[in-house]
Subunit: 278 residues, 4 copies
């Protein structure tokens, strides 16, 4: 079975939209980038309020122009790939769709709560900004380090959550509703605010016992803030000068710590036991 | 003297409760996990307040069902181990007991302050959440790193406490009660809030001298926040799962990244070039 | 073509102003340093307010004396270099110019808003403090580490900004204007305040949904605070001033801590025991 | 000239007071430790206020007993060392003196402001807690790491101060007195509160321009919080498995990176050039 082929003009359009190596491809990406930024700024400016009606009209027209451009771009992206479904359900395919649809939806959902719904839906267009990350190629090592330490960070955050639930419950019992600890969920929220050293101060303990417990929570938070940092630092330090070793030992010379992918002993050249090699 | 043996059905129950390798053991653990989470959510929801009486009744029934299940589980855990005392006084034995008992205690402690006491005791059941950690096996390395740096972190936190006591006393002398520094303990509390960079803002210096001292405390805190991080990072870097490799490649199969002390290629068993080995 | 030569007295002045090796050069630098610090303190004291008119007069005279000294210094710096344009458009050339000009500008800009404009312009003279950094030679390694990790930190901060824009928009939709989230830009500002663990508390979520999202933002911020630290730590660890040593000791002089690849003792020149060398 | 000798009973007392190897020495240290802690707790409790007169009388008696013990201890420390001046002007000699004197001074300084002066002086006795650190021997490595990175941390903190002065001045110009930025020193104080991620919230920007500048300051603070951590982490990673090497090369085999104290080449055993050896 032969592969489905794209027609020549589709292939040309594909190179412009998906690649940035040709002058046209570069121009397309820069224009797209500027439009994304403009669109985000438009949404932000609109939310500020207190502007003249003319400005709102201008923003409205501007958003429509950008939405139409994004619509055409979305259609072009779909028709210029061999397997459209692969693009549509990819991360950026979904982001592209979500950042195009809100303005159109404002026509379908008519009624009394018309304006508010539209505004809320249009705000989702801020997700369009995620497109920008596509144009940065240097974030790979950062991403890899985060992925490698993902499991460890998860375990750590889980431990933080458990500590927060218990400490939050104790704070609720000690402080009570008068000082802002209205319920256990609110106390847990306060506890995370404190453990992460954010400390808004909208809720703060006032009783000596509550302040003592808060002190313990903060000292604890100060002591454990080191953990995720240590994890990522170690992950970074394990650059490609280091390889992972396992606990198997050579059947001939008993040398330990072989590379995970080692077939022969690095000390005596003996073939290592393959079934131990996992 | 021969060891005490468990009867067959006890051994089978032991495998289900304590291990998670059989299908039944897995199912038991999943059910237990869900019940623990439900129980914690019940306690939280109850503390929020402002709900219908029916919801409270439902929560009450739900808590009784969970408590009965936990009671049966606790009894099963005790009778299916060879030395029950070892389980009962272990960390999880105590946690299991504390998370089962509160609801029963609400019958014994009758009187005018009945309801409040019950609520307070039932809140202790949140400790049941600690059981969850048992099901995570990946936290070992994290635990080891923390244990190794325990002594250093203790010395560090002790130094932080001394600095807080002295700086807190000075702040009390400088600021006085008007700006919230009511007593030395409160000032020490404020000092820890500041050193740990939490900064609630419920107490804040208002005099120039107080703000100058606060600045010094913060700069100090900023300078020393590095210390626990450095300790844990160094502890992680000392991981013995990794060895240093060099850039020599095998003369036979060209495999790169050999251990510094490797004599033979780990891939093909070829004797490595000794003069390249430096 | 021969190079333009400076006349002898210009060369002497150049050595005094630009270098700190001669006694006169050292004296000049110390005097300059004191004047810069005095000038910054004058600007600060003036801004405090509530002082006697005599103090303001004294500050005014003091600032004029310092400004005249800085003017002469600036002229001397310009005429004693071979290529004046190179100095004028260098980092310190611009700083020196900006720290001299404000007081003169107060004569040109006469009018009703005279005093305020002057004060604002004079405040720019605080940039003069940047001159101090010139006298510290130890900041090179710090600068290099920051420059090397510049790209990574930029990518990281960019990701933080995108997260802030999206999370800020969601907070604006959830919380609304009553709890301080007046517009998307303000919500994004709050989001950065939270992610960076500053947490002023002037704006804080009050709805359960808002507090839940805030919790997620804080946990996220706590998890990713490790990233820039890890980057800089790794950059520092890559210092080539250090080599790995092992625990073997010289068979002749017993000196410990030899390089991993050492063949001879660094202390007595004795051939080291080769089979111990692993 | 022969050394001055201590009489036998003085030598015995010296062993008890200054050393902790004999049972009597250990007992003395433990009693001293408890008295120091009691004294600090007394000062703290007294500052809380709102207690019965009997409690104050008890605290007063307790403080006198501790002060007399400390006086005897101080005299014993002075007479049992060969060179008393060395002890008196050492760090702990001064601390010991400062923690003994306040209660006696309350007799000399009689007058109307009698009580307040006494209280202020007595609060200085909190410095007595510093004695505790003497009994911890594990803090050496921590101290060494901090001392090694002292210069780097100083340069870093100096840079933070300059940024704070400039950013504080700009915030004062943008925000003005209404939102709490009353003067440049207060703005600099706020700037350090923000850069160190403490964020009290007693002062917070309200204008869009001020919030934008605050955002930049926070992002900056978030980016540079990594620097001191990186410094200390790197200092820790350079544990005693690593030695410092210099750039001299062997005159015979040209091998580089010799240990700072190396006399012979580690590669060929050649005597290294001694005048290059610095």
């Amino acid at each position: 079975m032969t592969e489905k082929r794209l027609s020549p003009w589709k292939k040309q359009l594909h190179d412009i939209i998906y690649e940035a190596d040709t002058p046209m491809g570069k121009l397309f990406d820069v224009v797209l980038l500027i439009l994304i930024l403009l669109s985000v700024i438009f949404v932000m400016v609109e939310s500020v309020g207190g502007l003249h009606q003319e400005v709102y009209d201008l923003l409205y027209v501007g958003e429509w122009i950008i939405t139409i451009f994004f619509t055409l771009e979305y259609i072009a992206r779909v028709i210029t790939v061999k397997k459209p479904s692969r693009y549509i359900f990819s991360f950026y395919g979904i982001i592209d769709f979500l950042s195009t649809i809100p303005l159109y939806l404002s026509f379908i959902l008519v009624g009394s709560n018309y304006l508010l719904t539209v505004r809320a839906l249009r705000l989702l267009r801020v997700f369009r900004i995620l497109k920008i990350t596509r144009y940065i190629g240097e974030s790979n090592k950062l991403k890899r380090a985060l992925l490698h330490s993902r499991a460890k960070i998860f375990v750590f955050l889980f431990a933080v959550l458990i500590v927060s639930v218990i400490a939050g419950t104790l704070m609720y019992l000690i402080e009570g509703a008068e000082s802002g600890f209205k319920s256990i969920p609110v106390s847990v929220y306060w506890c995370i605010v404190t453990l992460t050293t954010v400390g808004f101060g909208d809720i703060a303990p006032v009783t000596p016992a509550g302040q003592l417990l808060a002190t313990i929570i903060m000292i604890l938070g100060y002591g454990i803030i080191a953990v995720p940092t240590g994890i990522v630092s170690a992950e970074y330090a394990k650059s490609d000068d280091y390889v992972h070793v396992n606990t198997q030992s050579c059947p001939n010379c008993n040398a330990p710590k072989h590379r995970d992918d080692a077939k022969y002993c690095h000390k005596c050249g003996q073939l290592l036991n393959p079934e131990k090699h996992s």
